[in-house]
Amino acid sequence: MSIDLKQYLRPGVTLPFCAGCGDRILLRLILRAIDELKINIDDMLFVSGIGCAAWIPSPNFNADTLHTLHGRAIAFATGAKVFNPKLKTVVISGDGDLADIGGNHLIHAARRNIDLTVLCANNMNYGMTGGQVCSTTPKGVRTPTTPGGNPYHPFDLCKLVNAAGATYVARYSVTQPSVLVESIKKALQIEGFSFIDIISPCPTQYGRQHRLGTPRETLKFFENRCIMKEDAKGLSEEELEEKIVTGEFSDGGN
């Protein structure tokens, strides 16, 4: 980590993530966005649920952090933000946390369009508990709780949150660092509910279970799958099956 990003880390912490974990990259990209916007981190509140991704801000960020219950981060954040609108409130949590157990809070917060930034670290599984299926796991994928392959279609979280009424909705991958940082900056600045579905590969669980190879190869696998939505236009449904379409899906009117 560069010297200027270290200033945002709580003294004494060692980052807990596995080798090649997308969350480690994401942590750095979030701090880079904050640094580039020159936001005073003391004015910010970071709220997370339970799971690997929830550890991104807590205890690592040297700021106010509220590490809550599984699925409930957005509800906690809503109370803090509504009572003190001056708190720049950012929720950082996993896909299982935000979309499965906390899915109802997610769509209702988007509907209310309260000024929260929600960064969903999407590793397409429950990393912390051993790689079980998530509502974001692609159909057919084998996990410890779907040994015959996931029988269900995954959520398109951007479509979901967009339909629920969020102001800003985007999807980028940690393998697309510069566009992702720009997107986080936008999300932080926009008033209203902003949501980024961030593809954050999990080599330890998802990568190993799918024999994606080394952490580097796992990242490469996702890098190759992610395409910008502009490039997705000419592709057939079959071709798109294999792809993760990234970009802005609601740009907050900008």
Partner: protein, 390 residues
């Protein structure tokens, strides 16, 4: 109004600001709770409508509009209590009211409030159960859930009122206790009192206690093994670490440290239990020469007092002790009365909850009376029960 004299020594006498002027009012219990909350400084409320607590939500929402505070109708009770905890850390005195089904949904978050030492006030207007039960009818079946409902249960404070006036007073007490001890405080109301209309006298001045703050101090630990640390607020540059995992005095997670676990749990327990004499309040009637004592709480105490006064006119030596605090339990008072009387009668609108605590501490014979038909226990029923024991 508040029981803890030491607590009040540190409190400021405040003019009622943006609350009702001193006067007599005619309120339902639910309205009185809403007014008590506003008088206590509650400025964040989150809820999800449920009978028989809905009127608290509606009243406080319209009153909040007048004073410029915010209430939120959340998507469920889980979101409601979680948002209250978030608001509390943002500096609010926050309240939530519900009934049995919602109280059940909140149990996980109650444990989070306990371990993070977050002051919140939770009103449970009890109705019959289990499950949906009879939603408009009275019961008292959540007393044990208040104490033991969340996993790894720790002491909390739970109050019980017998009149509309007392619902107003105890709501204020609940906020004072929550701020003083940094615990969730439960007001265990009952449908019968919540929907009753009675006179409420609102005094010129009330005593309020606000959470202690000390910049830079450890927010989750004290030198003493039963202390209450000061509580900072988000946005003050304290770089707070609030977590539901076991943590040290500064909030750093200690997930495999046996000593840290023991130290935290012991303090969470002791900060309430070692102060229980300052928290517990009860009321005695006609106990001086009584042979039989009725031990009661909530609405049932009204019927009990009526029954006792009737029997006293016949010269029967009966008395009663009314618990105004359910948790921590009034163990010493019960053991004291238990050594003076021959028998205790414990009428409850459940299948026997508080009676189990009484049996633990009373040396005399303890007789339960349980009524679970959704009706209040009538005075004549208590008279009958007492006659059988005389």
């Amino acid at each position: 109004m508040c029981y803890d004299h030491e607590l009040m020594a540190g409190a400021s006498k405040r003019k009622l600001k943006s609350a009702l002027s001193a006067n007599s009012y005619y309120f339902s219990g639910d309205e009185a709770i809403a007014e008590g909350a506003i008088a206590a400084g509650c400025r964040y409320y989150a809820g999800y409508p449920i009978t028989p607590a809905t009127e608290i939500f509606e009243t406080i929402t319209s009153r909040f509009r007048e004073i410029g505070a915010v209430s939120m109708q959340m998507e469920d009770e889980i979101a409601s209590i979680c948002s209250c905890i978030g608001a509390s850390w943002a500096g609010a005195k926050a309240m939530i009211a519900t009934s049995g089904p919602g109280f059940s949904l909140m149990q996980e978050a109650i444990g989070y409030a306990v371990i993070t030492e977050t002051p919140i006030v939770l009103v449970d207007v009890q109705r019959t159960g289990p499950s949906t039960g009879q939603s408009t009818r009275v019961g008292s079946g959540d007393i044990m859930q208040a104490r033991w409902g969340t996993h790894g249960a720790m002491p909390i404070i739970a109050l019980s009122a017998s009149s509309v006036q007392e619902l107003y007073d105890q709501t204020i007490d609940a906020f004072n206790f929550a701020e003083k001890y940094r615990v969730p405080v439960f007001l265990m109301a009952e449908e019968a009192t919540a929907h009753l209309r009675e006179r409420v006298d609102i005094p010129e001045e009330i005593k309020l206690f606000d959470r202690k703050k000390k910049a830079g101090a450890a927010p989750f630990g004290t030198e003493e093994s039963d202390g209450v640390p000061p509580m900072p607020t988000f946005g003050e540059g304290e770089k707070l670490l609030v977590t539901g995992s076991t943590h040290d005095a500064y909030g750093i997670r200690k997930t495999v440290d046996s000593l840290a676990q023991e130290k935290l749990v012991t303090r969470l327990h002791s900060k309430i239990m070692n102060n229980r004499e300052k928290i517990i309040e009860y009321e005695e009637h006609y106990l001086e020469d009584a042979d039989i004592a009725v031990i009661c709480y909530g609405f049932t105490a009204r019927s009990s007092l009526f029954a006792i006064e009737r029997l006293r006119k016949e010269g029967k030596k009966v008395g009663m002790l009314r618990l105004k605090t359910l948790w921590p339990f009034a163990d010493r008072a019960i053991s004291n009365v238990g050594s003076r009387v021959k028998k205790m009668l414990v009428p409850e609108m459940n299948m026997g909850q508080v009676v189990g605590e009484i049996v633990k501490y009373a040396s005399c014979e303890v007789v339960p009376y349980n009524q679970v038909n959704g009706e209040i226990i009538h005075p004549h029923t208590i008279i009958e029960q007492l006659r059988a024991l005389l």
